[in-house]
Structures are given as C-alpha cells and as structure tokens.
Symmetry: C2
Subunit: 239 residues, 2 copies
C-alpha cells in the first residue's frame, strides 16, 4: 500500500471543482482511493458561516463558558442532540449521526478569520459526486473518502475517520470466516474506511495544508457509505 | 508513505525471536516502523492460557451467559475493572488502562484449539525489547508498535490501535501551532501511533496470518509509549 500526499493544491474556495484540481496533479487508476479532508469539501460546497451572522440563543450563551457564544450557536445549529457538555466544550450528535466534539464546526483553516467551517450536509453524497466527476474526467473508477479528525472516548488524541464514502468497502465483515486453526471469527467487522482515513492523515498533516491523499495498492473497491459506521445506540455496548 | 506486509513468517511460538524472524525477511533502515500484531507478541512471550486450566468463579458463571465460563474467567483475571456487561460480552479496563472488549482475550489464531491468547503484560516493554533486538541485529534504529483491534463507542467496526510502542512519537502535539490563516490550534493532539496501527492493519488482514507490517517514509521517530494514549477518566468528556 502506498499513501501519497497530493501536493500543490490551491486554497479551496466555494465552487471549486475538487476532482479537477486533483486529477490535474496526480494520475489516477482504477482502485485508487482519494481521501479528502472534510474542510476542503466543505469549503468547495460553501459550508461556511460568518461569526457576525450568528445571533447566539440563550442556550448558546449558557453553554459558551468564556468562549465566543456565536461559535456555540453554530455548533447547536449543527447538532441534533447534545451528548456531553463542559462549557465551552460540547460533544454532540450531528445530523449524520456522528458523535463528535463541536459538531465538526471549526475555525482553523477557514477561508478567512471570523469564519467557521461546517461539515458537509451529506458527506456520502459529496464523496459520490467527486467520484463521478473523477470518472468523467479520467475514466478511472476510484474510491473517495471524506475524512475528519475525531476525538474518541478512552483514548488520547484524535484519529482521522471517514464521514463520507463512495466506491469503497467501508466495513469488512469477517463474521463466519475462520482463522488458521479453524476458529470462527464471530463478531469481527473491520472499519476499513476509518483505517484508510487514518492512514491518509499521516501524510496530510494538520497545519501544512495538504487536504488530499491518494491510497494505492489495496483491494477495497465496493459500494459502502459512511452512514454504515454509525452504531445504533441500543447496539453500542461501549456507550 | 509505504506500508508493506512482512510475509513468510512462520506460526509464532513461545520463545521465538520476533525481531530475528522479521529482519531475515526485510531490510530495515533507520526510521522504519514495525507494526506487530499483539497476538504474535503474546504468543512469543507465552501469554496464553488453556481453557482446561481455568476454574470459573461464581462471577464468571454469572457473566458468561451461554458462553464458556472459563473464557469469562480468563477475561476477569485480566481486568482491573468491568466497565460494561451484556452477557457474554464484557467491556473492561485492562491492567494497562485500556478499555476494550474481553480484555483483549481471544481464541482466534491461538496456538491450538482450547487455548486463549492474552495481552502482553507490558506491551511498551515488549516493543522496546523488539526495537533493541532489531538494533542489535541490524544497527537500524526503528520504531516498534504492538497493535490490537479495538471496538470503540459510537462507531461500527474495529480499528487497530497501538497498545505498545517504542522509538516512535505516539502523540503529535499541535497545541500552540498556527494554521495557514494564523488561527491557533488549541486542543489538537494527533494519535499518530493509533493511525500507524490502523494503516498497518490494512495490509495485514485478520485471517491470512500476516502479523507484521513495515511502515516506511514517515518522520515519526520519537520516544513515546502507548500508556500516553490512555485518557485519565476525569479528562474524558466523551465517557
């Protein structure tokens, strides 16, 4: 497996054709997987908001602590449920079902100061659009993952995970297969798309502005989507 | 970044010199990272137990559901705290501080039927020993990660994470650095070692017996250890 940063991309702006910008810089072949940072996808889709357009609600004022309550307002608007609060930190469930800090709302790498970047409205659809556009431009059938950095319970630090996917196997289901001594693996599903996102993060960096990586040499073509990665709460023994 | 499976390794047995088995099959250079599946490390260290040596306690009988209570007994012996129970599933905290299903106790890929493989007693020490032995044999200064597949709250599927590490930067601390528009990243730490483990899993597979992968081309040398990845409960807003 090779994981290569796609370098030389310009700062992404609303309306940019991400697929075109990538294929100008790298030759894609069938089976390649593009991992694209959520922030680039969101910016190309205009999923940004200006702090000075936000009027904080009473709840936002209450939960903001000593932070800007307009940022808290943006988070609350993106959340369907607030899962944990320690002002100004909020862990929420997003419209997509993901549970993460700040609903993925982030000021870093925003187009300009005073702006916040929001998650794509439908990151699976974003991935599918980019995949189709790559095919249109190059005839290559690639996988696309939209990635974001999530914290997680019990463990320090963030790892990148898939919040959108198209053209890739997202979960590898090993239930019913047997190991070398004939023992049946009963409960194993591997979150391939999250591992691909994590691998890509290692070459993307966080501050050096490389929002796309190419993963080559794995057989992970499929038709999964990132909604498969959301556990129904009643099945989540860890929760 | 290149991630390569180390193929042709024999079935690992107690007393095997893992470092020697690896360096016979791949030329290592300074800065390489070896990711080694926990099961191979545990087996080389004799961290296995026979089911027929285990006498289930009353608690094991109660929590085993319709599973073999001797397996539950093995899990309870490895746990310092039981975090969640839905018989026969147990989420526990291990002696190392990790929170995971079944304390990492697993029958799959055991040396023979009727045996369970346990986590290494001190996986950071295991990683350090393998790293030193690689240096002794080749003069190469490599990083070593001991990996295992963990489930996680909120998301389907397992991803491989680091349970032991030596010679690598485990957490990349970006606090205080600035993005391209000058916005300070205040709370970002990246769990590099977990992302390395996840990347390696993609080439290792679960049933095809490739317990070691080589990650080359990243600058992640350091002196971290996997205990850094355990969040103190009082700091864990997700919990």
């Amino acid at each position: 497996m090779n994981v290569l940063p796609v370098t030389g991309l310009p700062e992404i702006r609303e309306g940019d054709d991400l697929a075109a910008l990538v294929v100008e810089r790298v030759d894609l072949v069938d089976g390649d997987v593009l991992v694209i940072a959520q922030k680039a996808v969101s910016k190309s889709e205009g999923r940004v908001v200006r702090l000075d357009e936000l009027e904080p609600s009473a709840r936002a004022l209450e939960l903001a602590g000593d932070e800007d309550p307009r940022r808290t307002e943006a988070i609350l608007r993106e959340a369907v449920e607030v899962v944990r609060v320690r002002p100004p930190l909020l862990i929420v469930q997003t419209r997509h079902g993901f549970i993460c800090a700040s609903a993925g709302v982030d000021a870093s790498n925003a187009p300009e100061p005073g702006m916040l970047v929001l998650l794509p409205l439908d990151p699976d659809a974003s991935a599918a659009r980019i995949r189709e556009r790559v095919h249109e431009l190059t005839r290559a059938r690639v996988g696309v993952i939209v990635s974001d950095s999530f914290g997680r319970p019990f463990r320090m630090g963030t790892t990148d995970v898939a919040i959108g996917a198209a053209g890739v196997r997202v979960l590898q289901d090993l239930r019913g297969t047997r190991d070398r001594i004939g023992h049946e693996l009963r409960s194993t599903q591997i979150a391939l798309a999250d591992e691909l996102a994590a691998a890509a993060q290692l070459v993307m960096g966080k501050t050096d502005g490389i929002p796309v990586a190419l993963v080559r040499g794995l057989d992970v073509a499929g038709d999964g989507n990132a909604r498969e990665l959301v556990i129904p709460p009643e099945r989540d023994l860890f929760r």
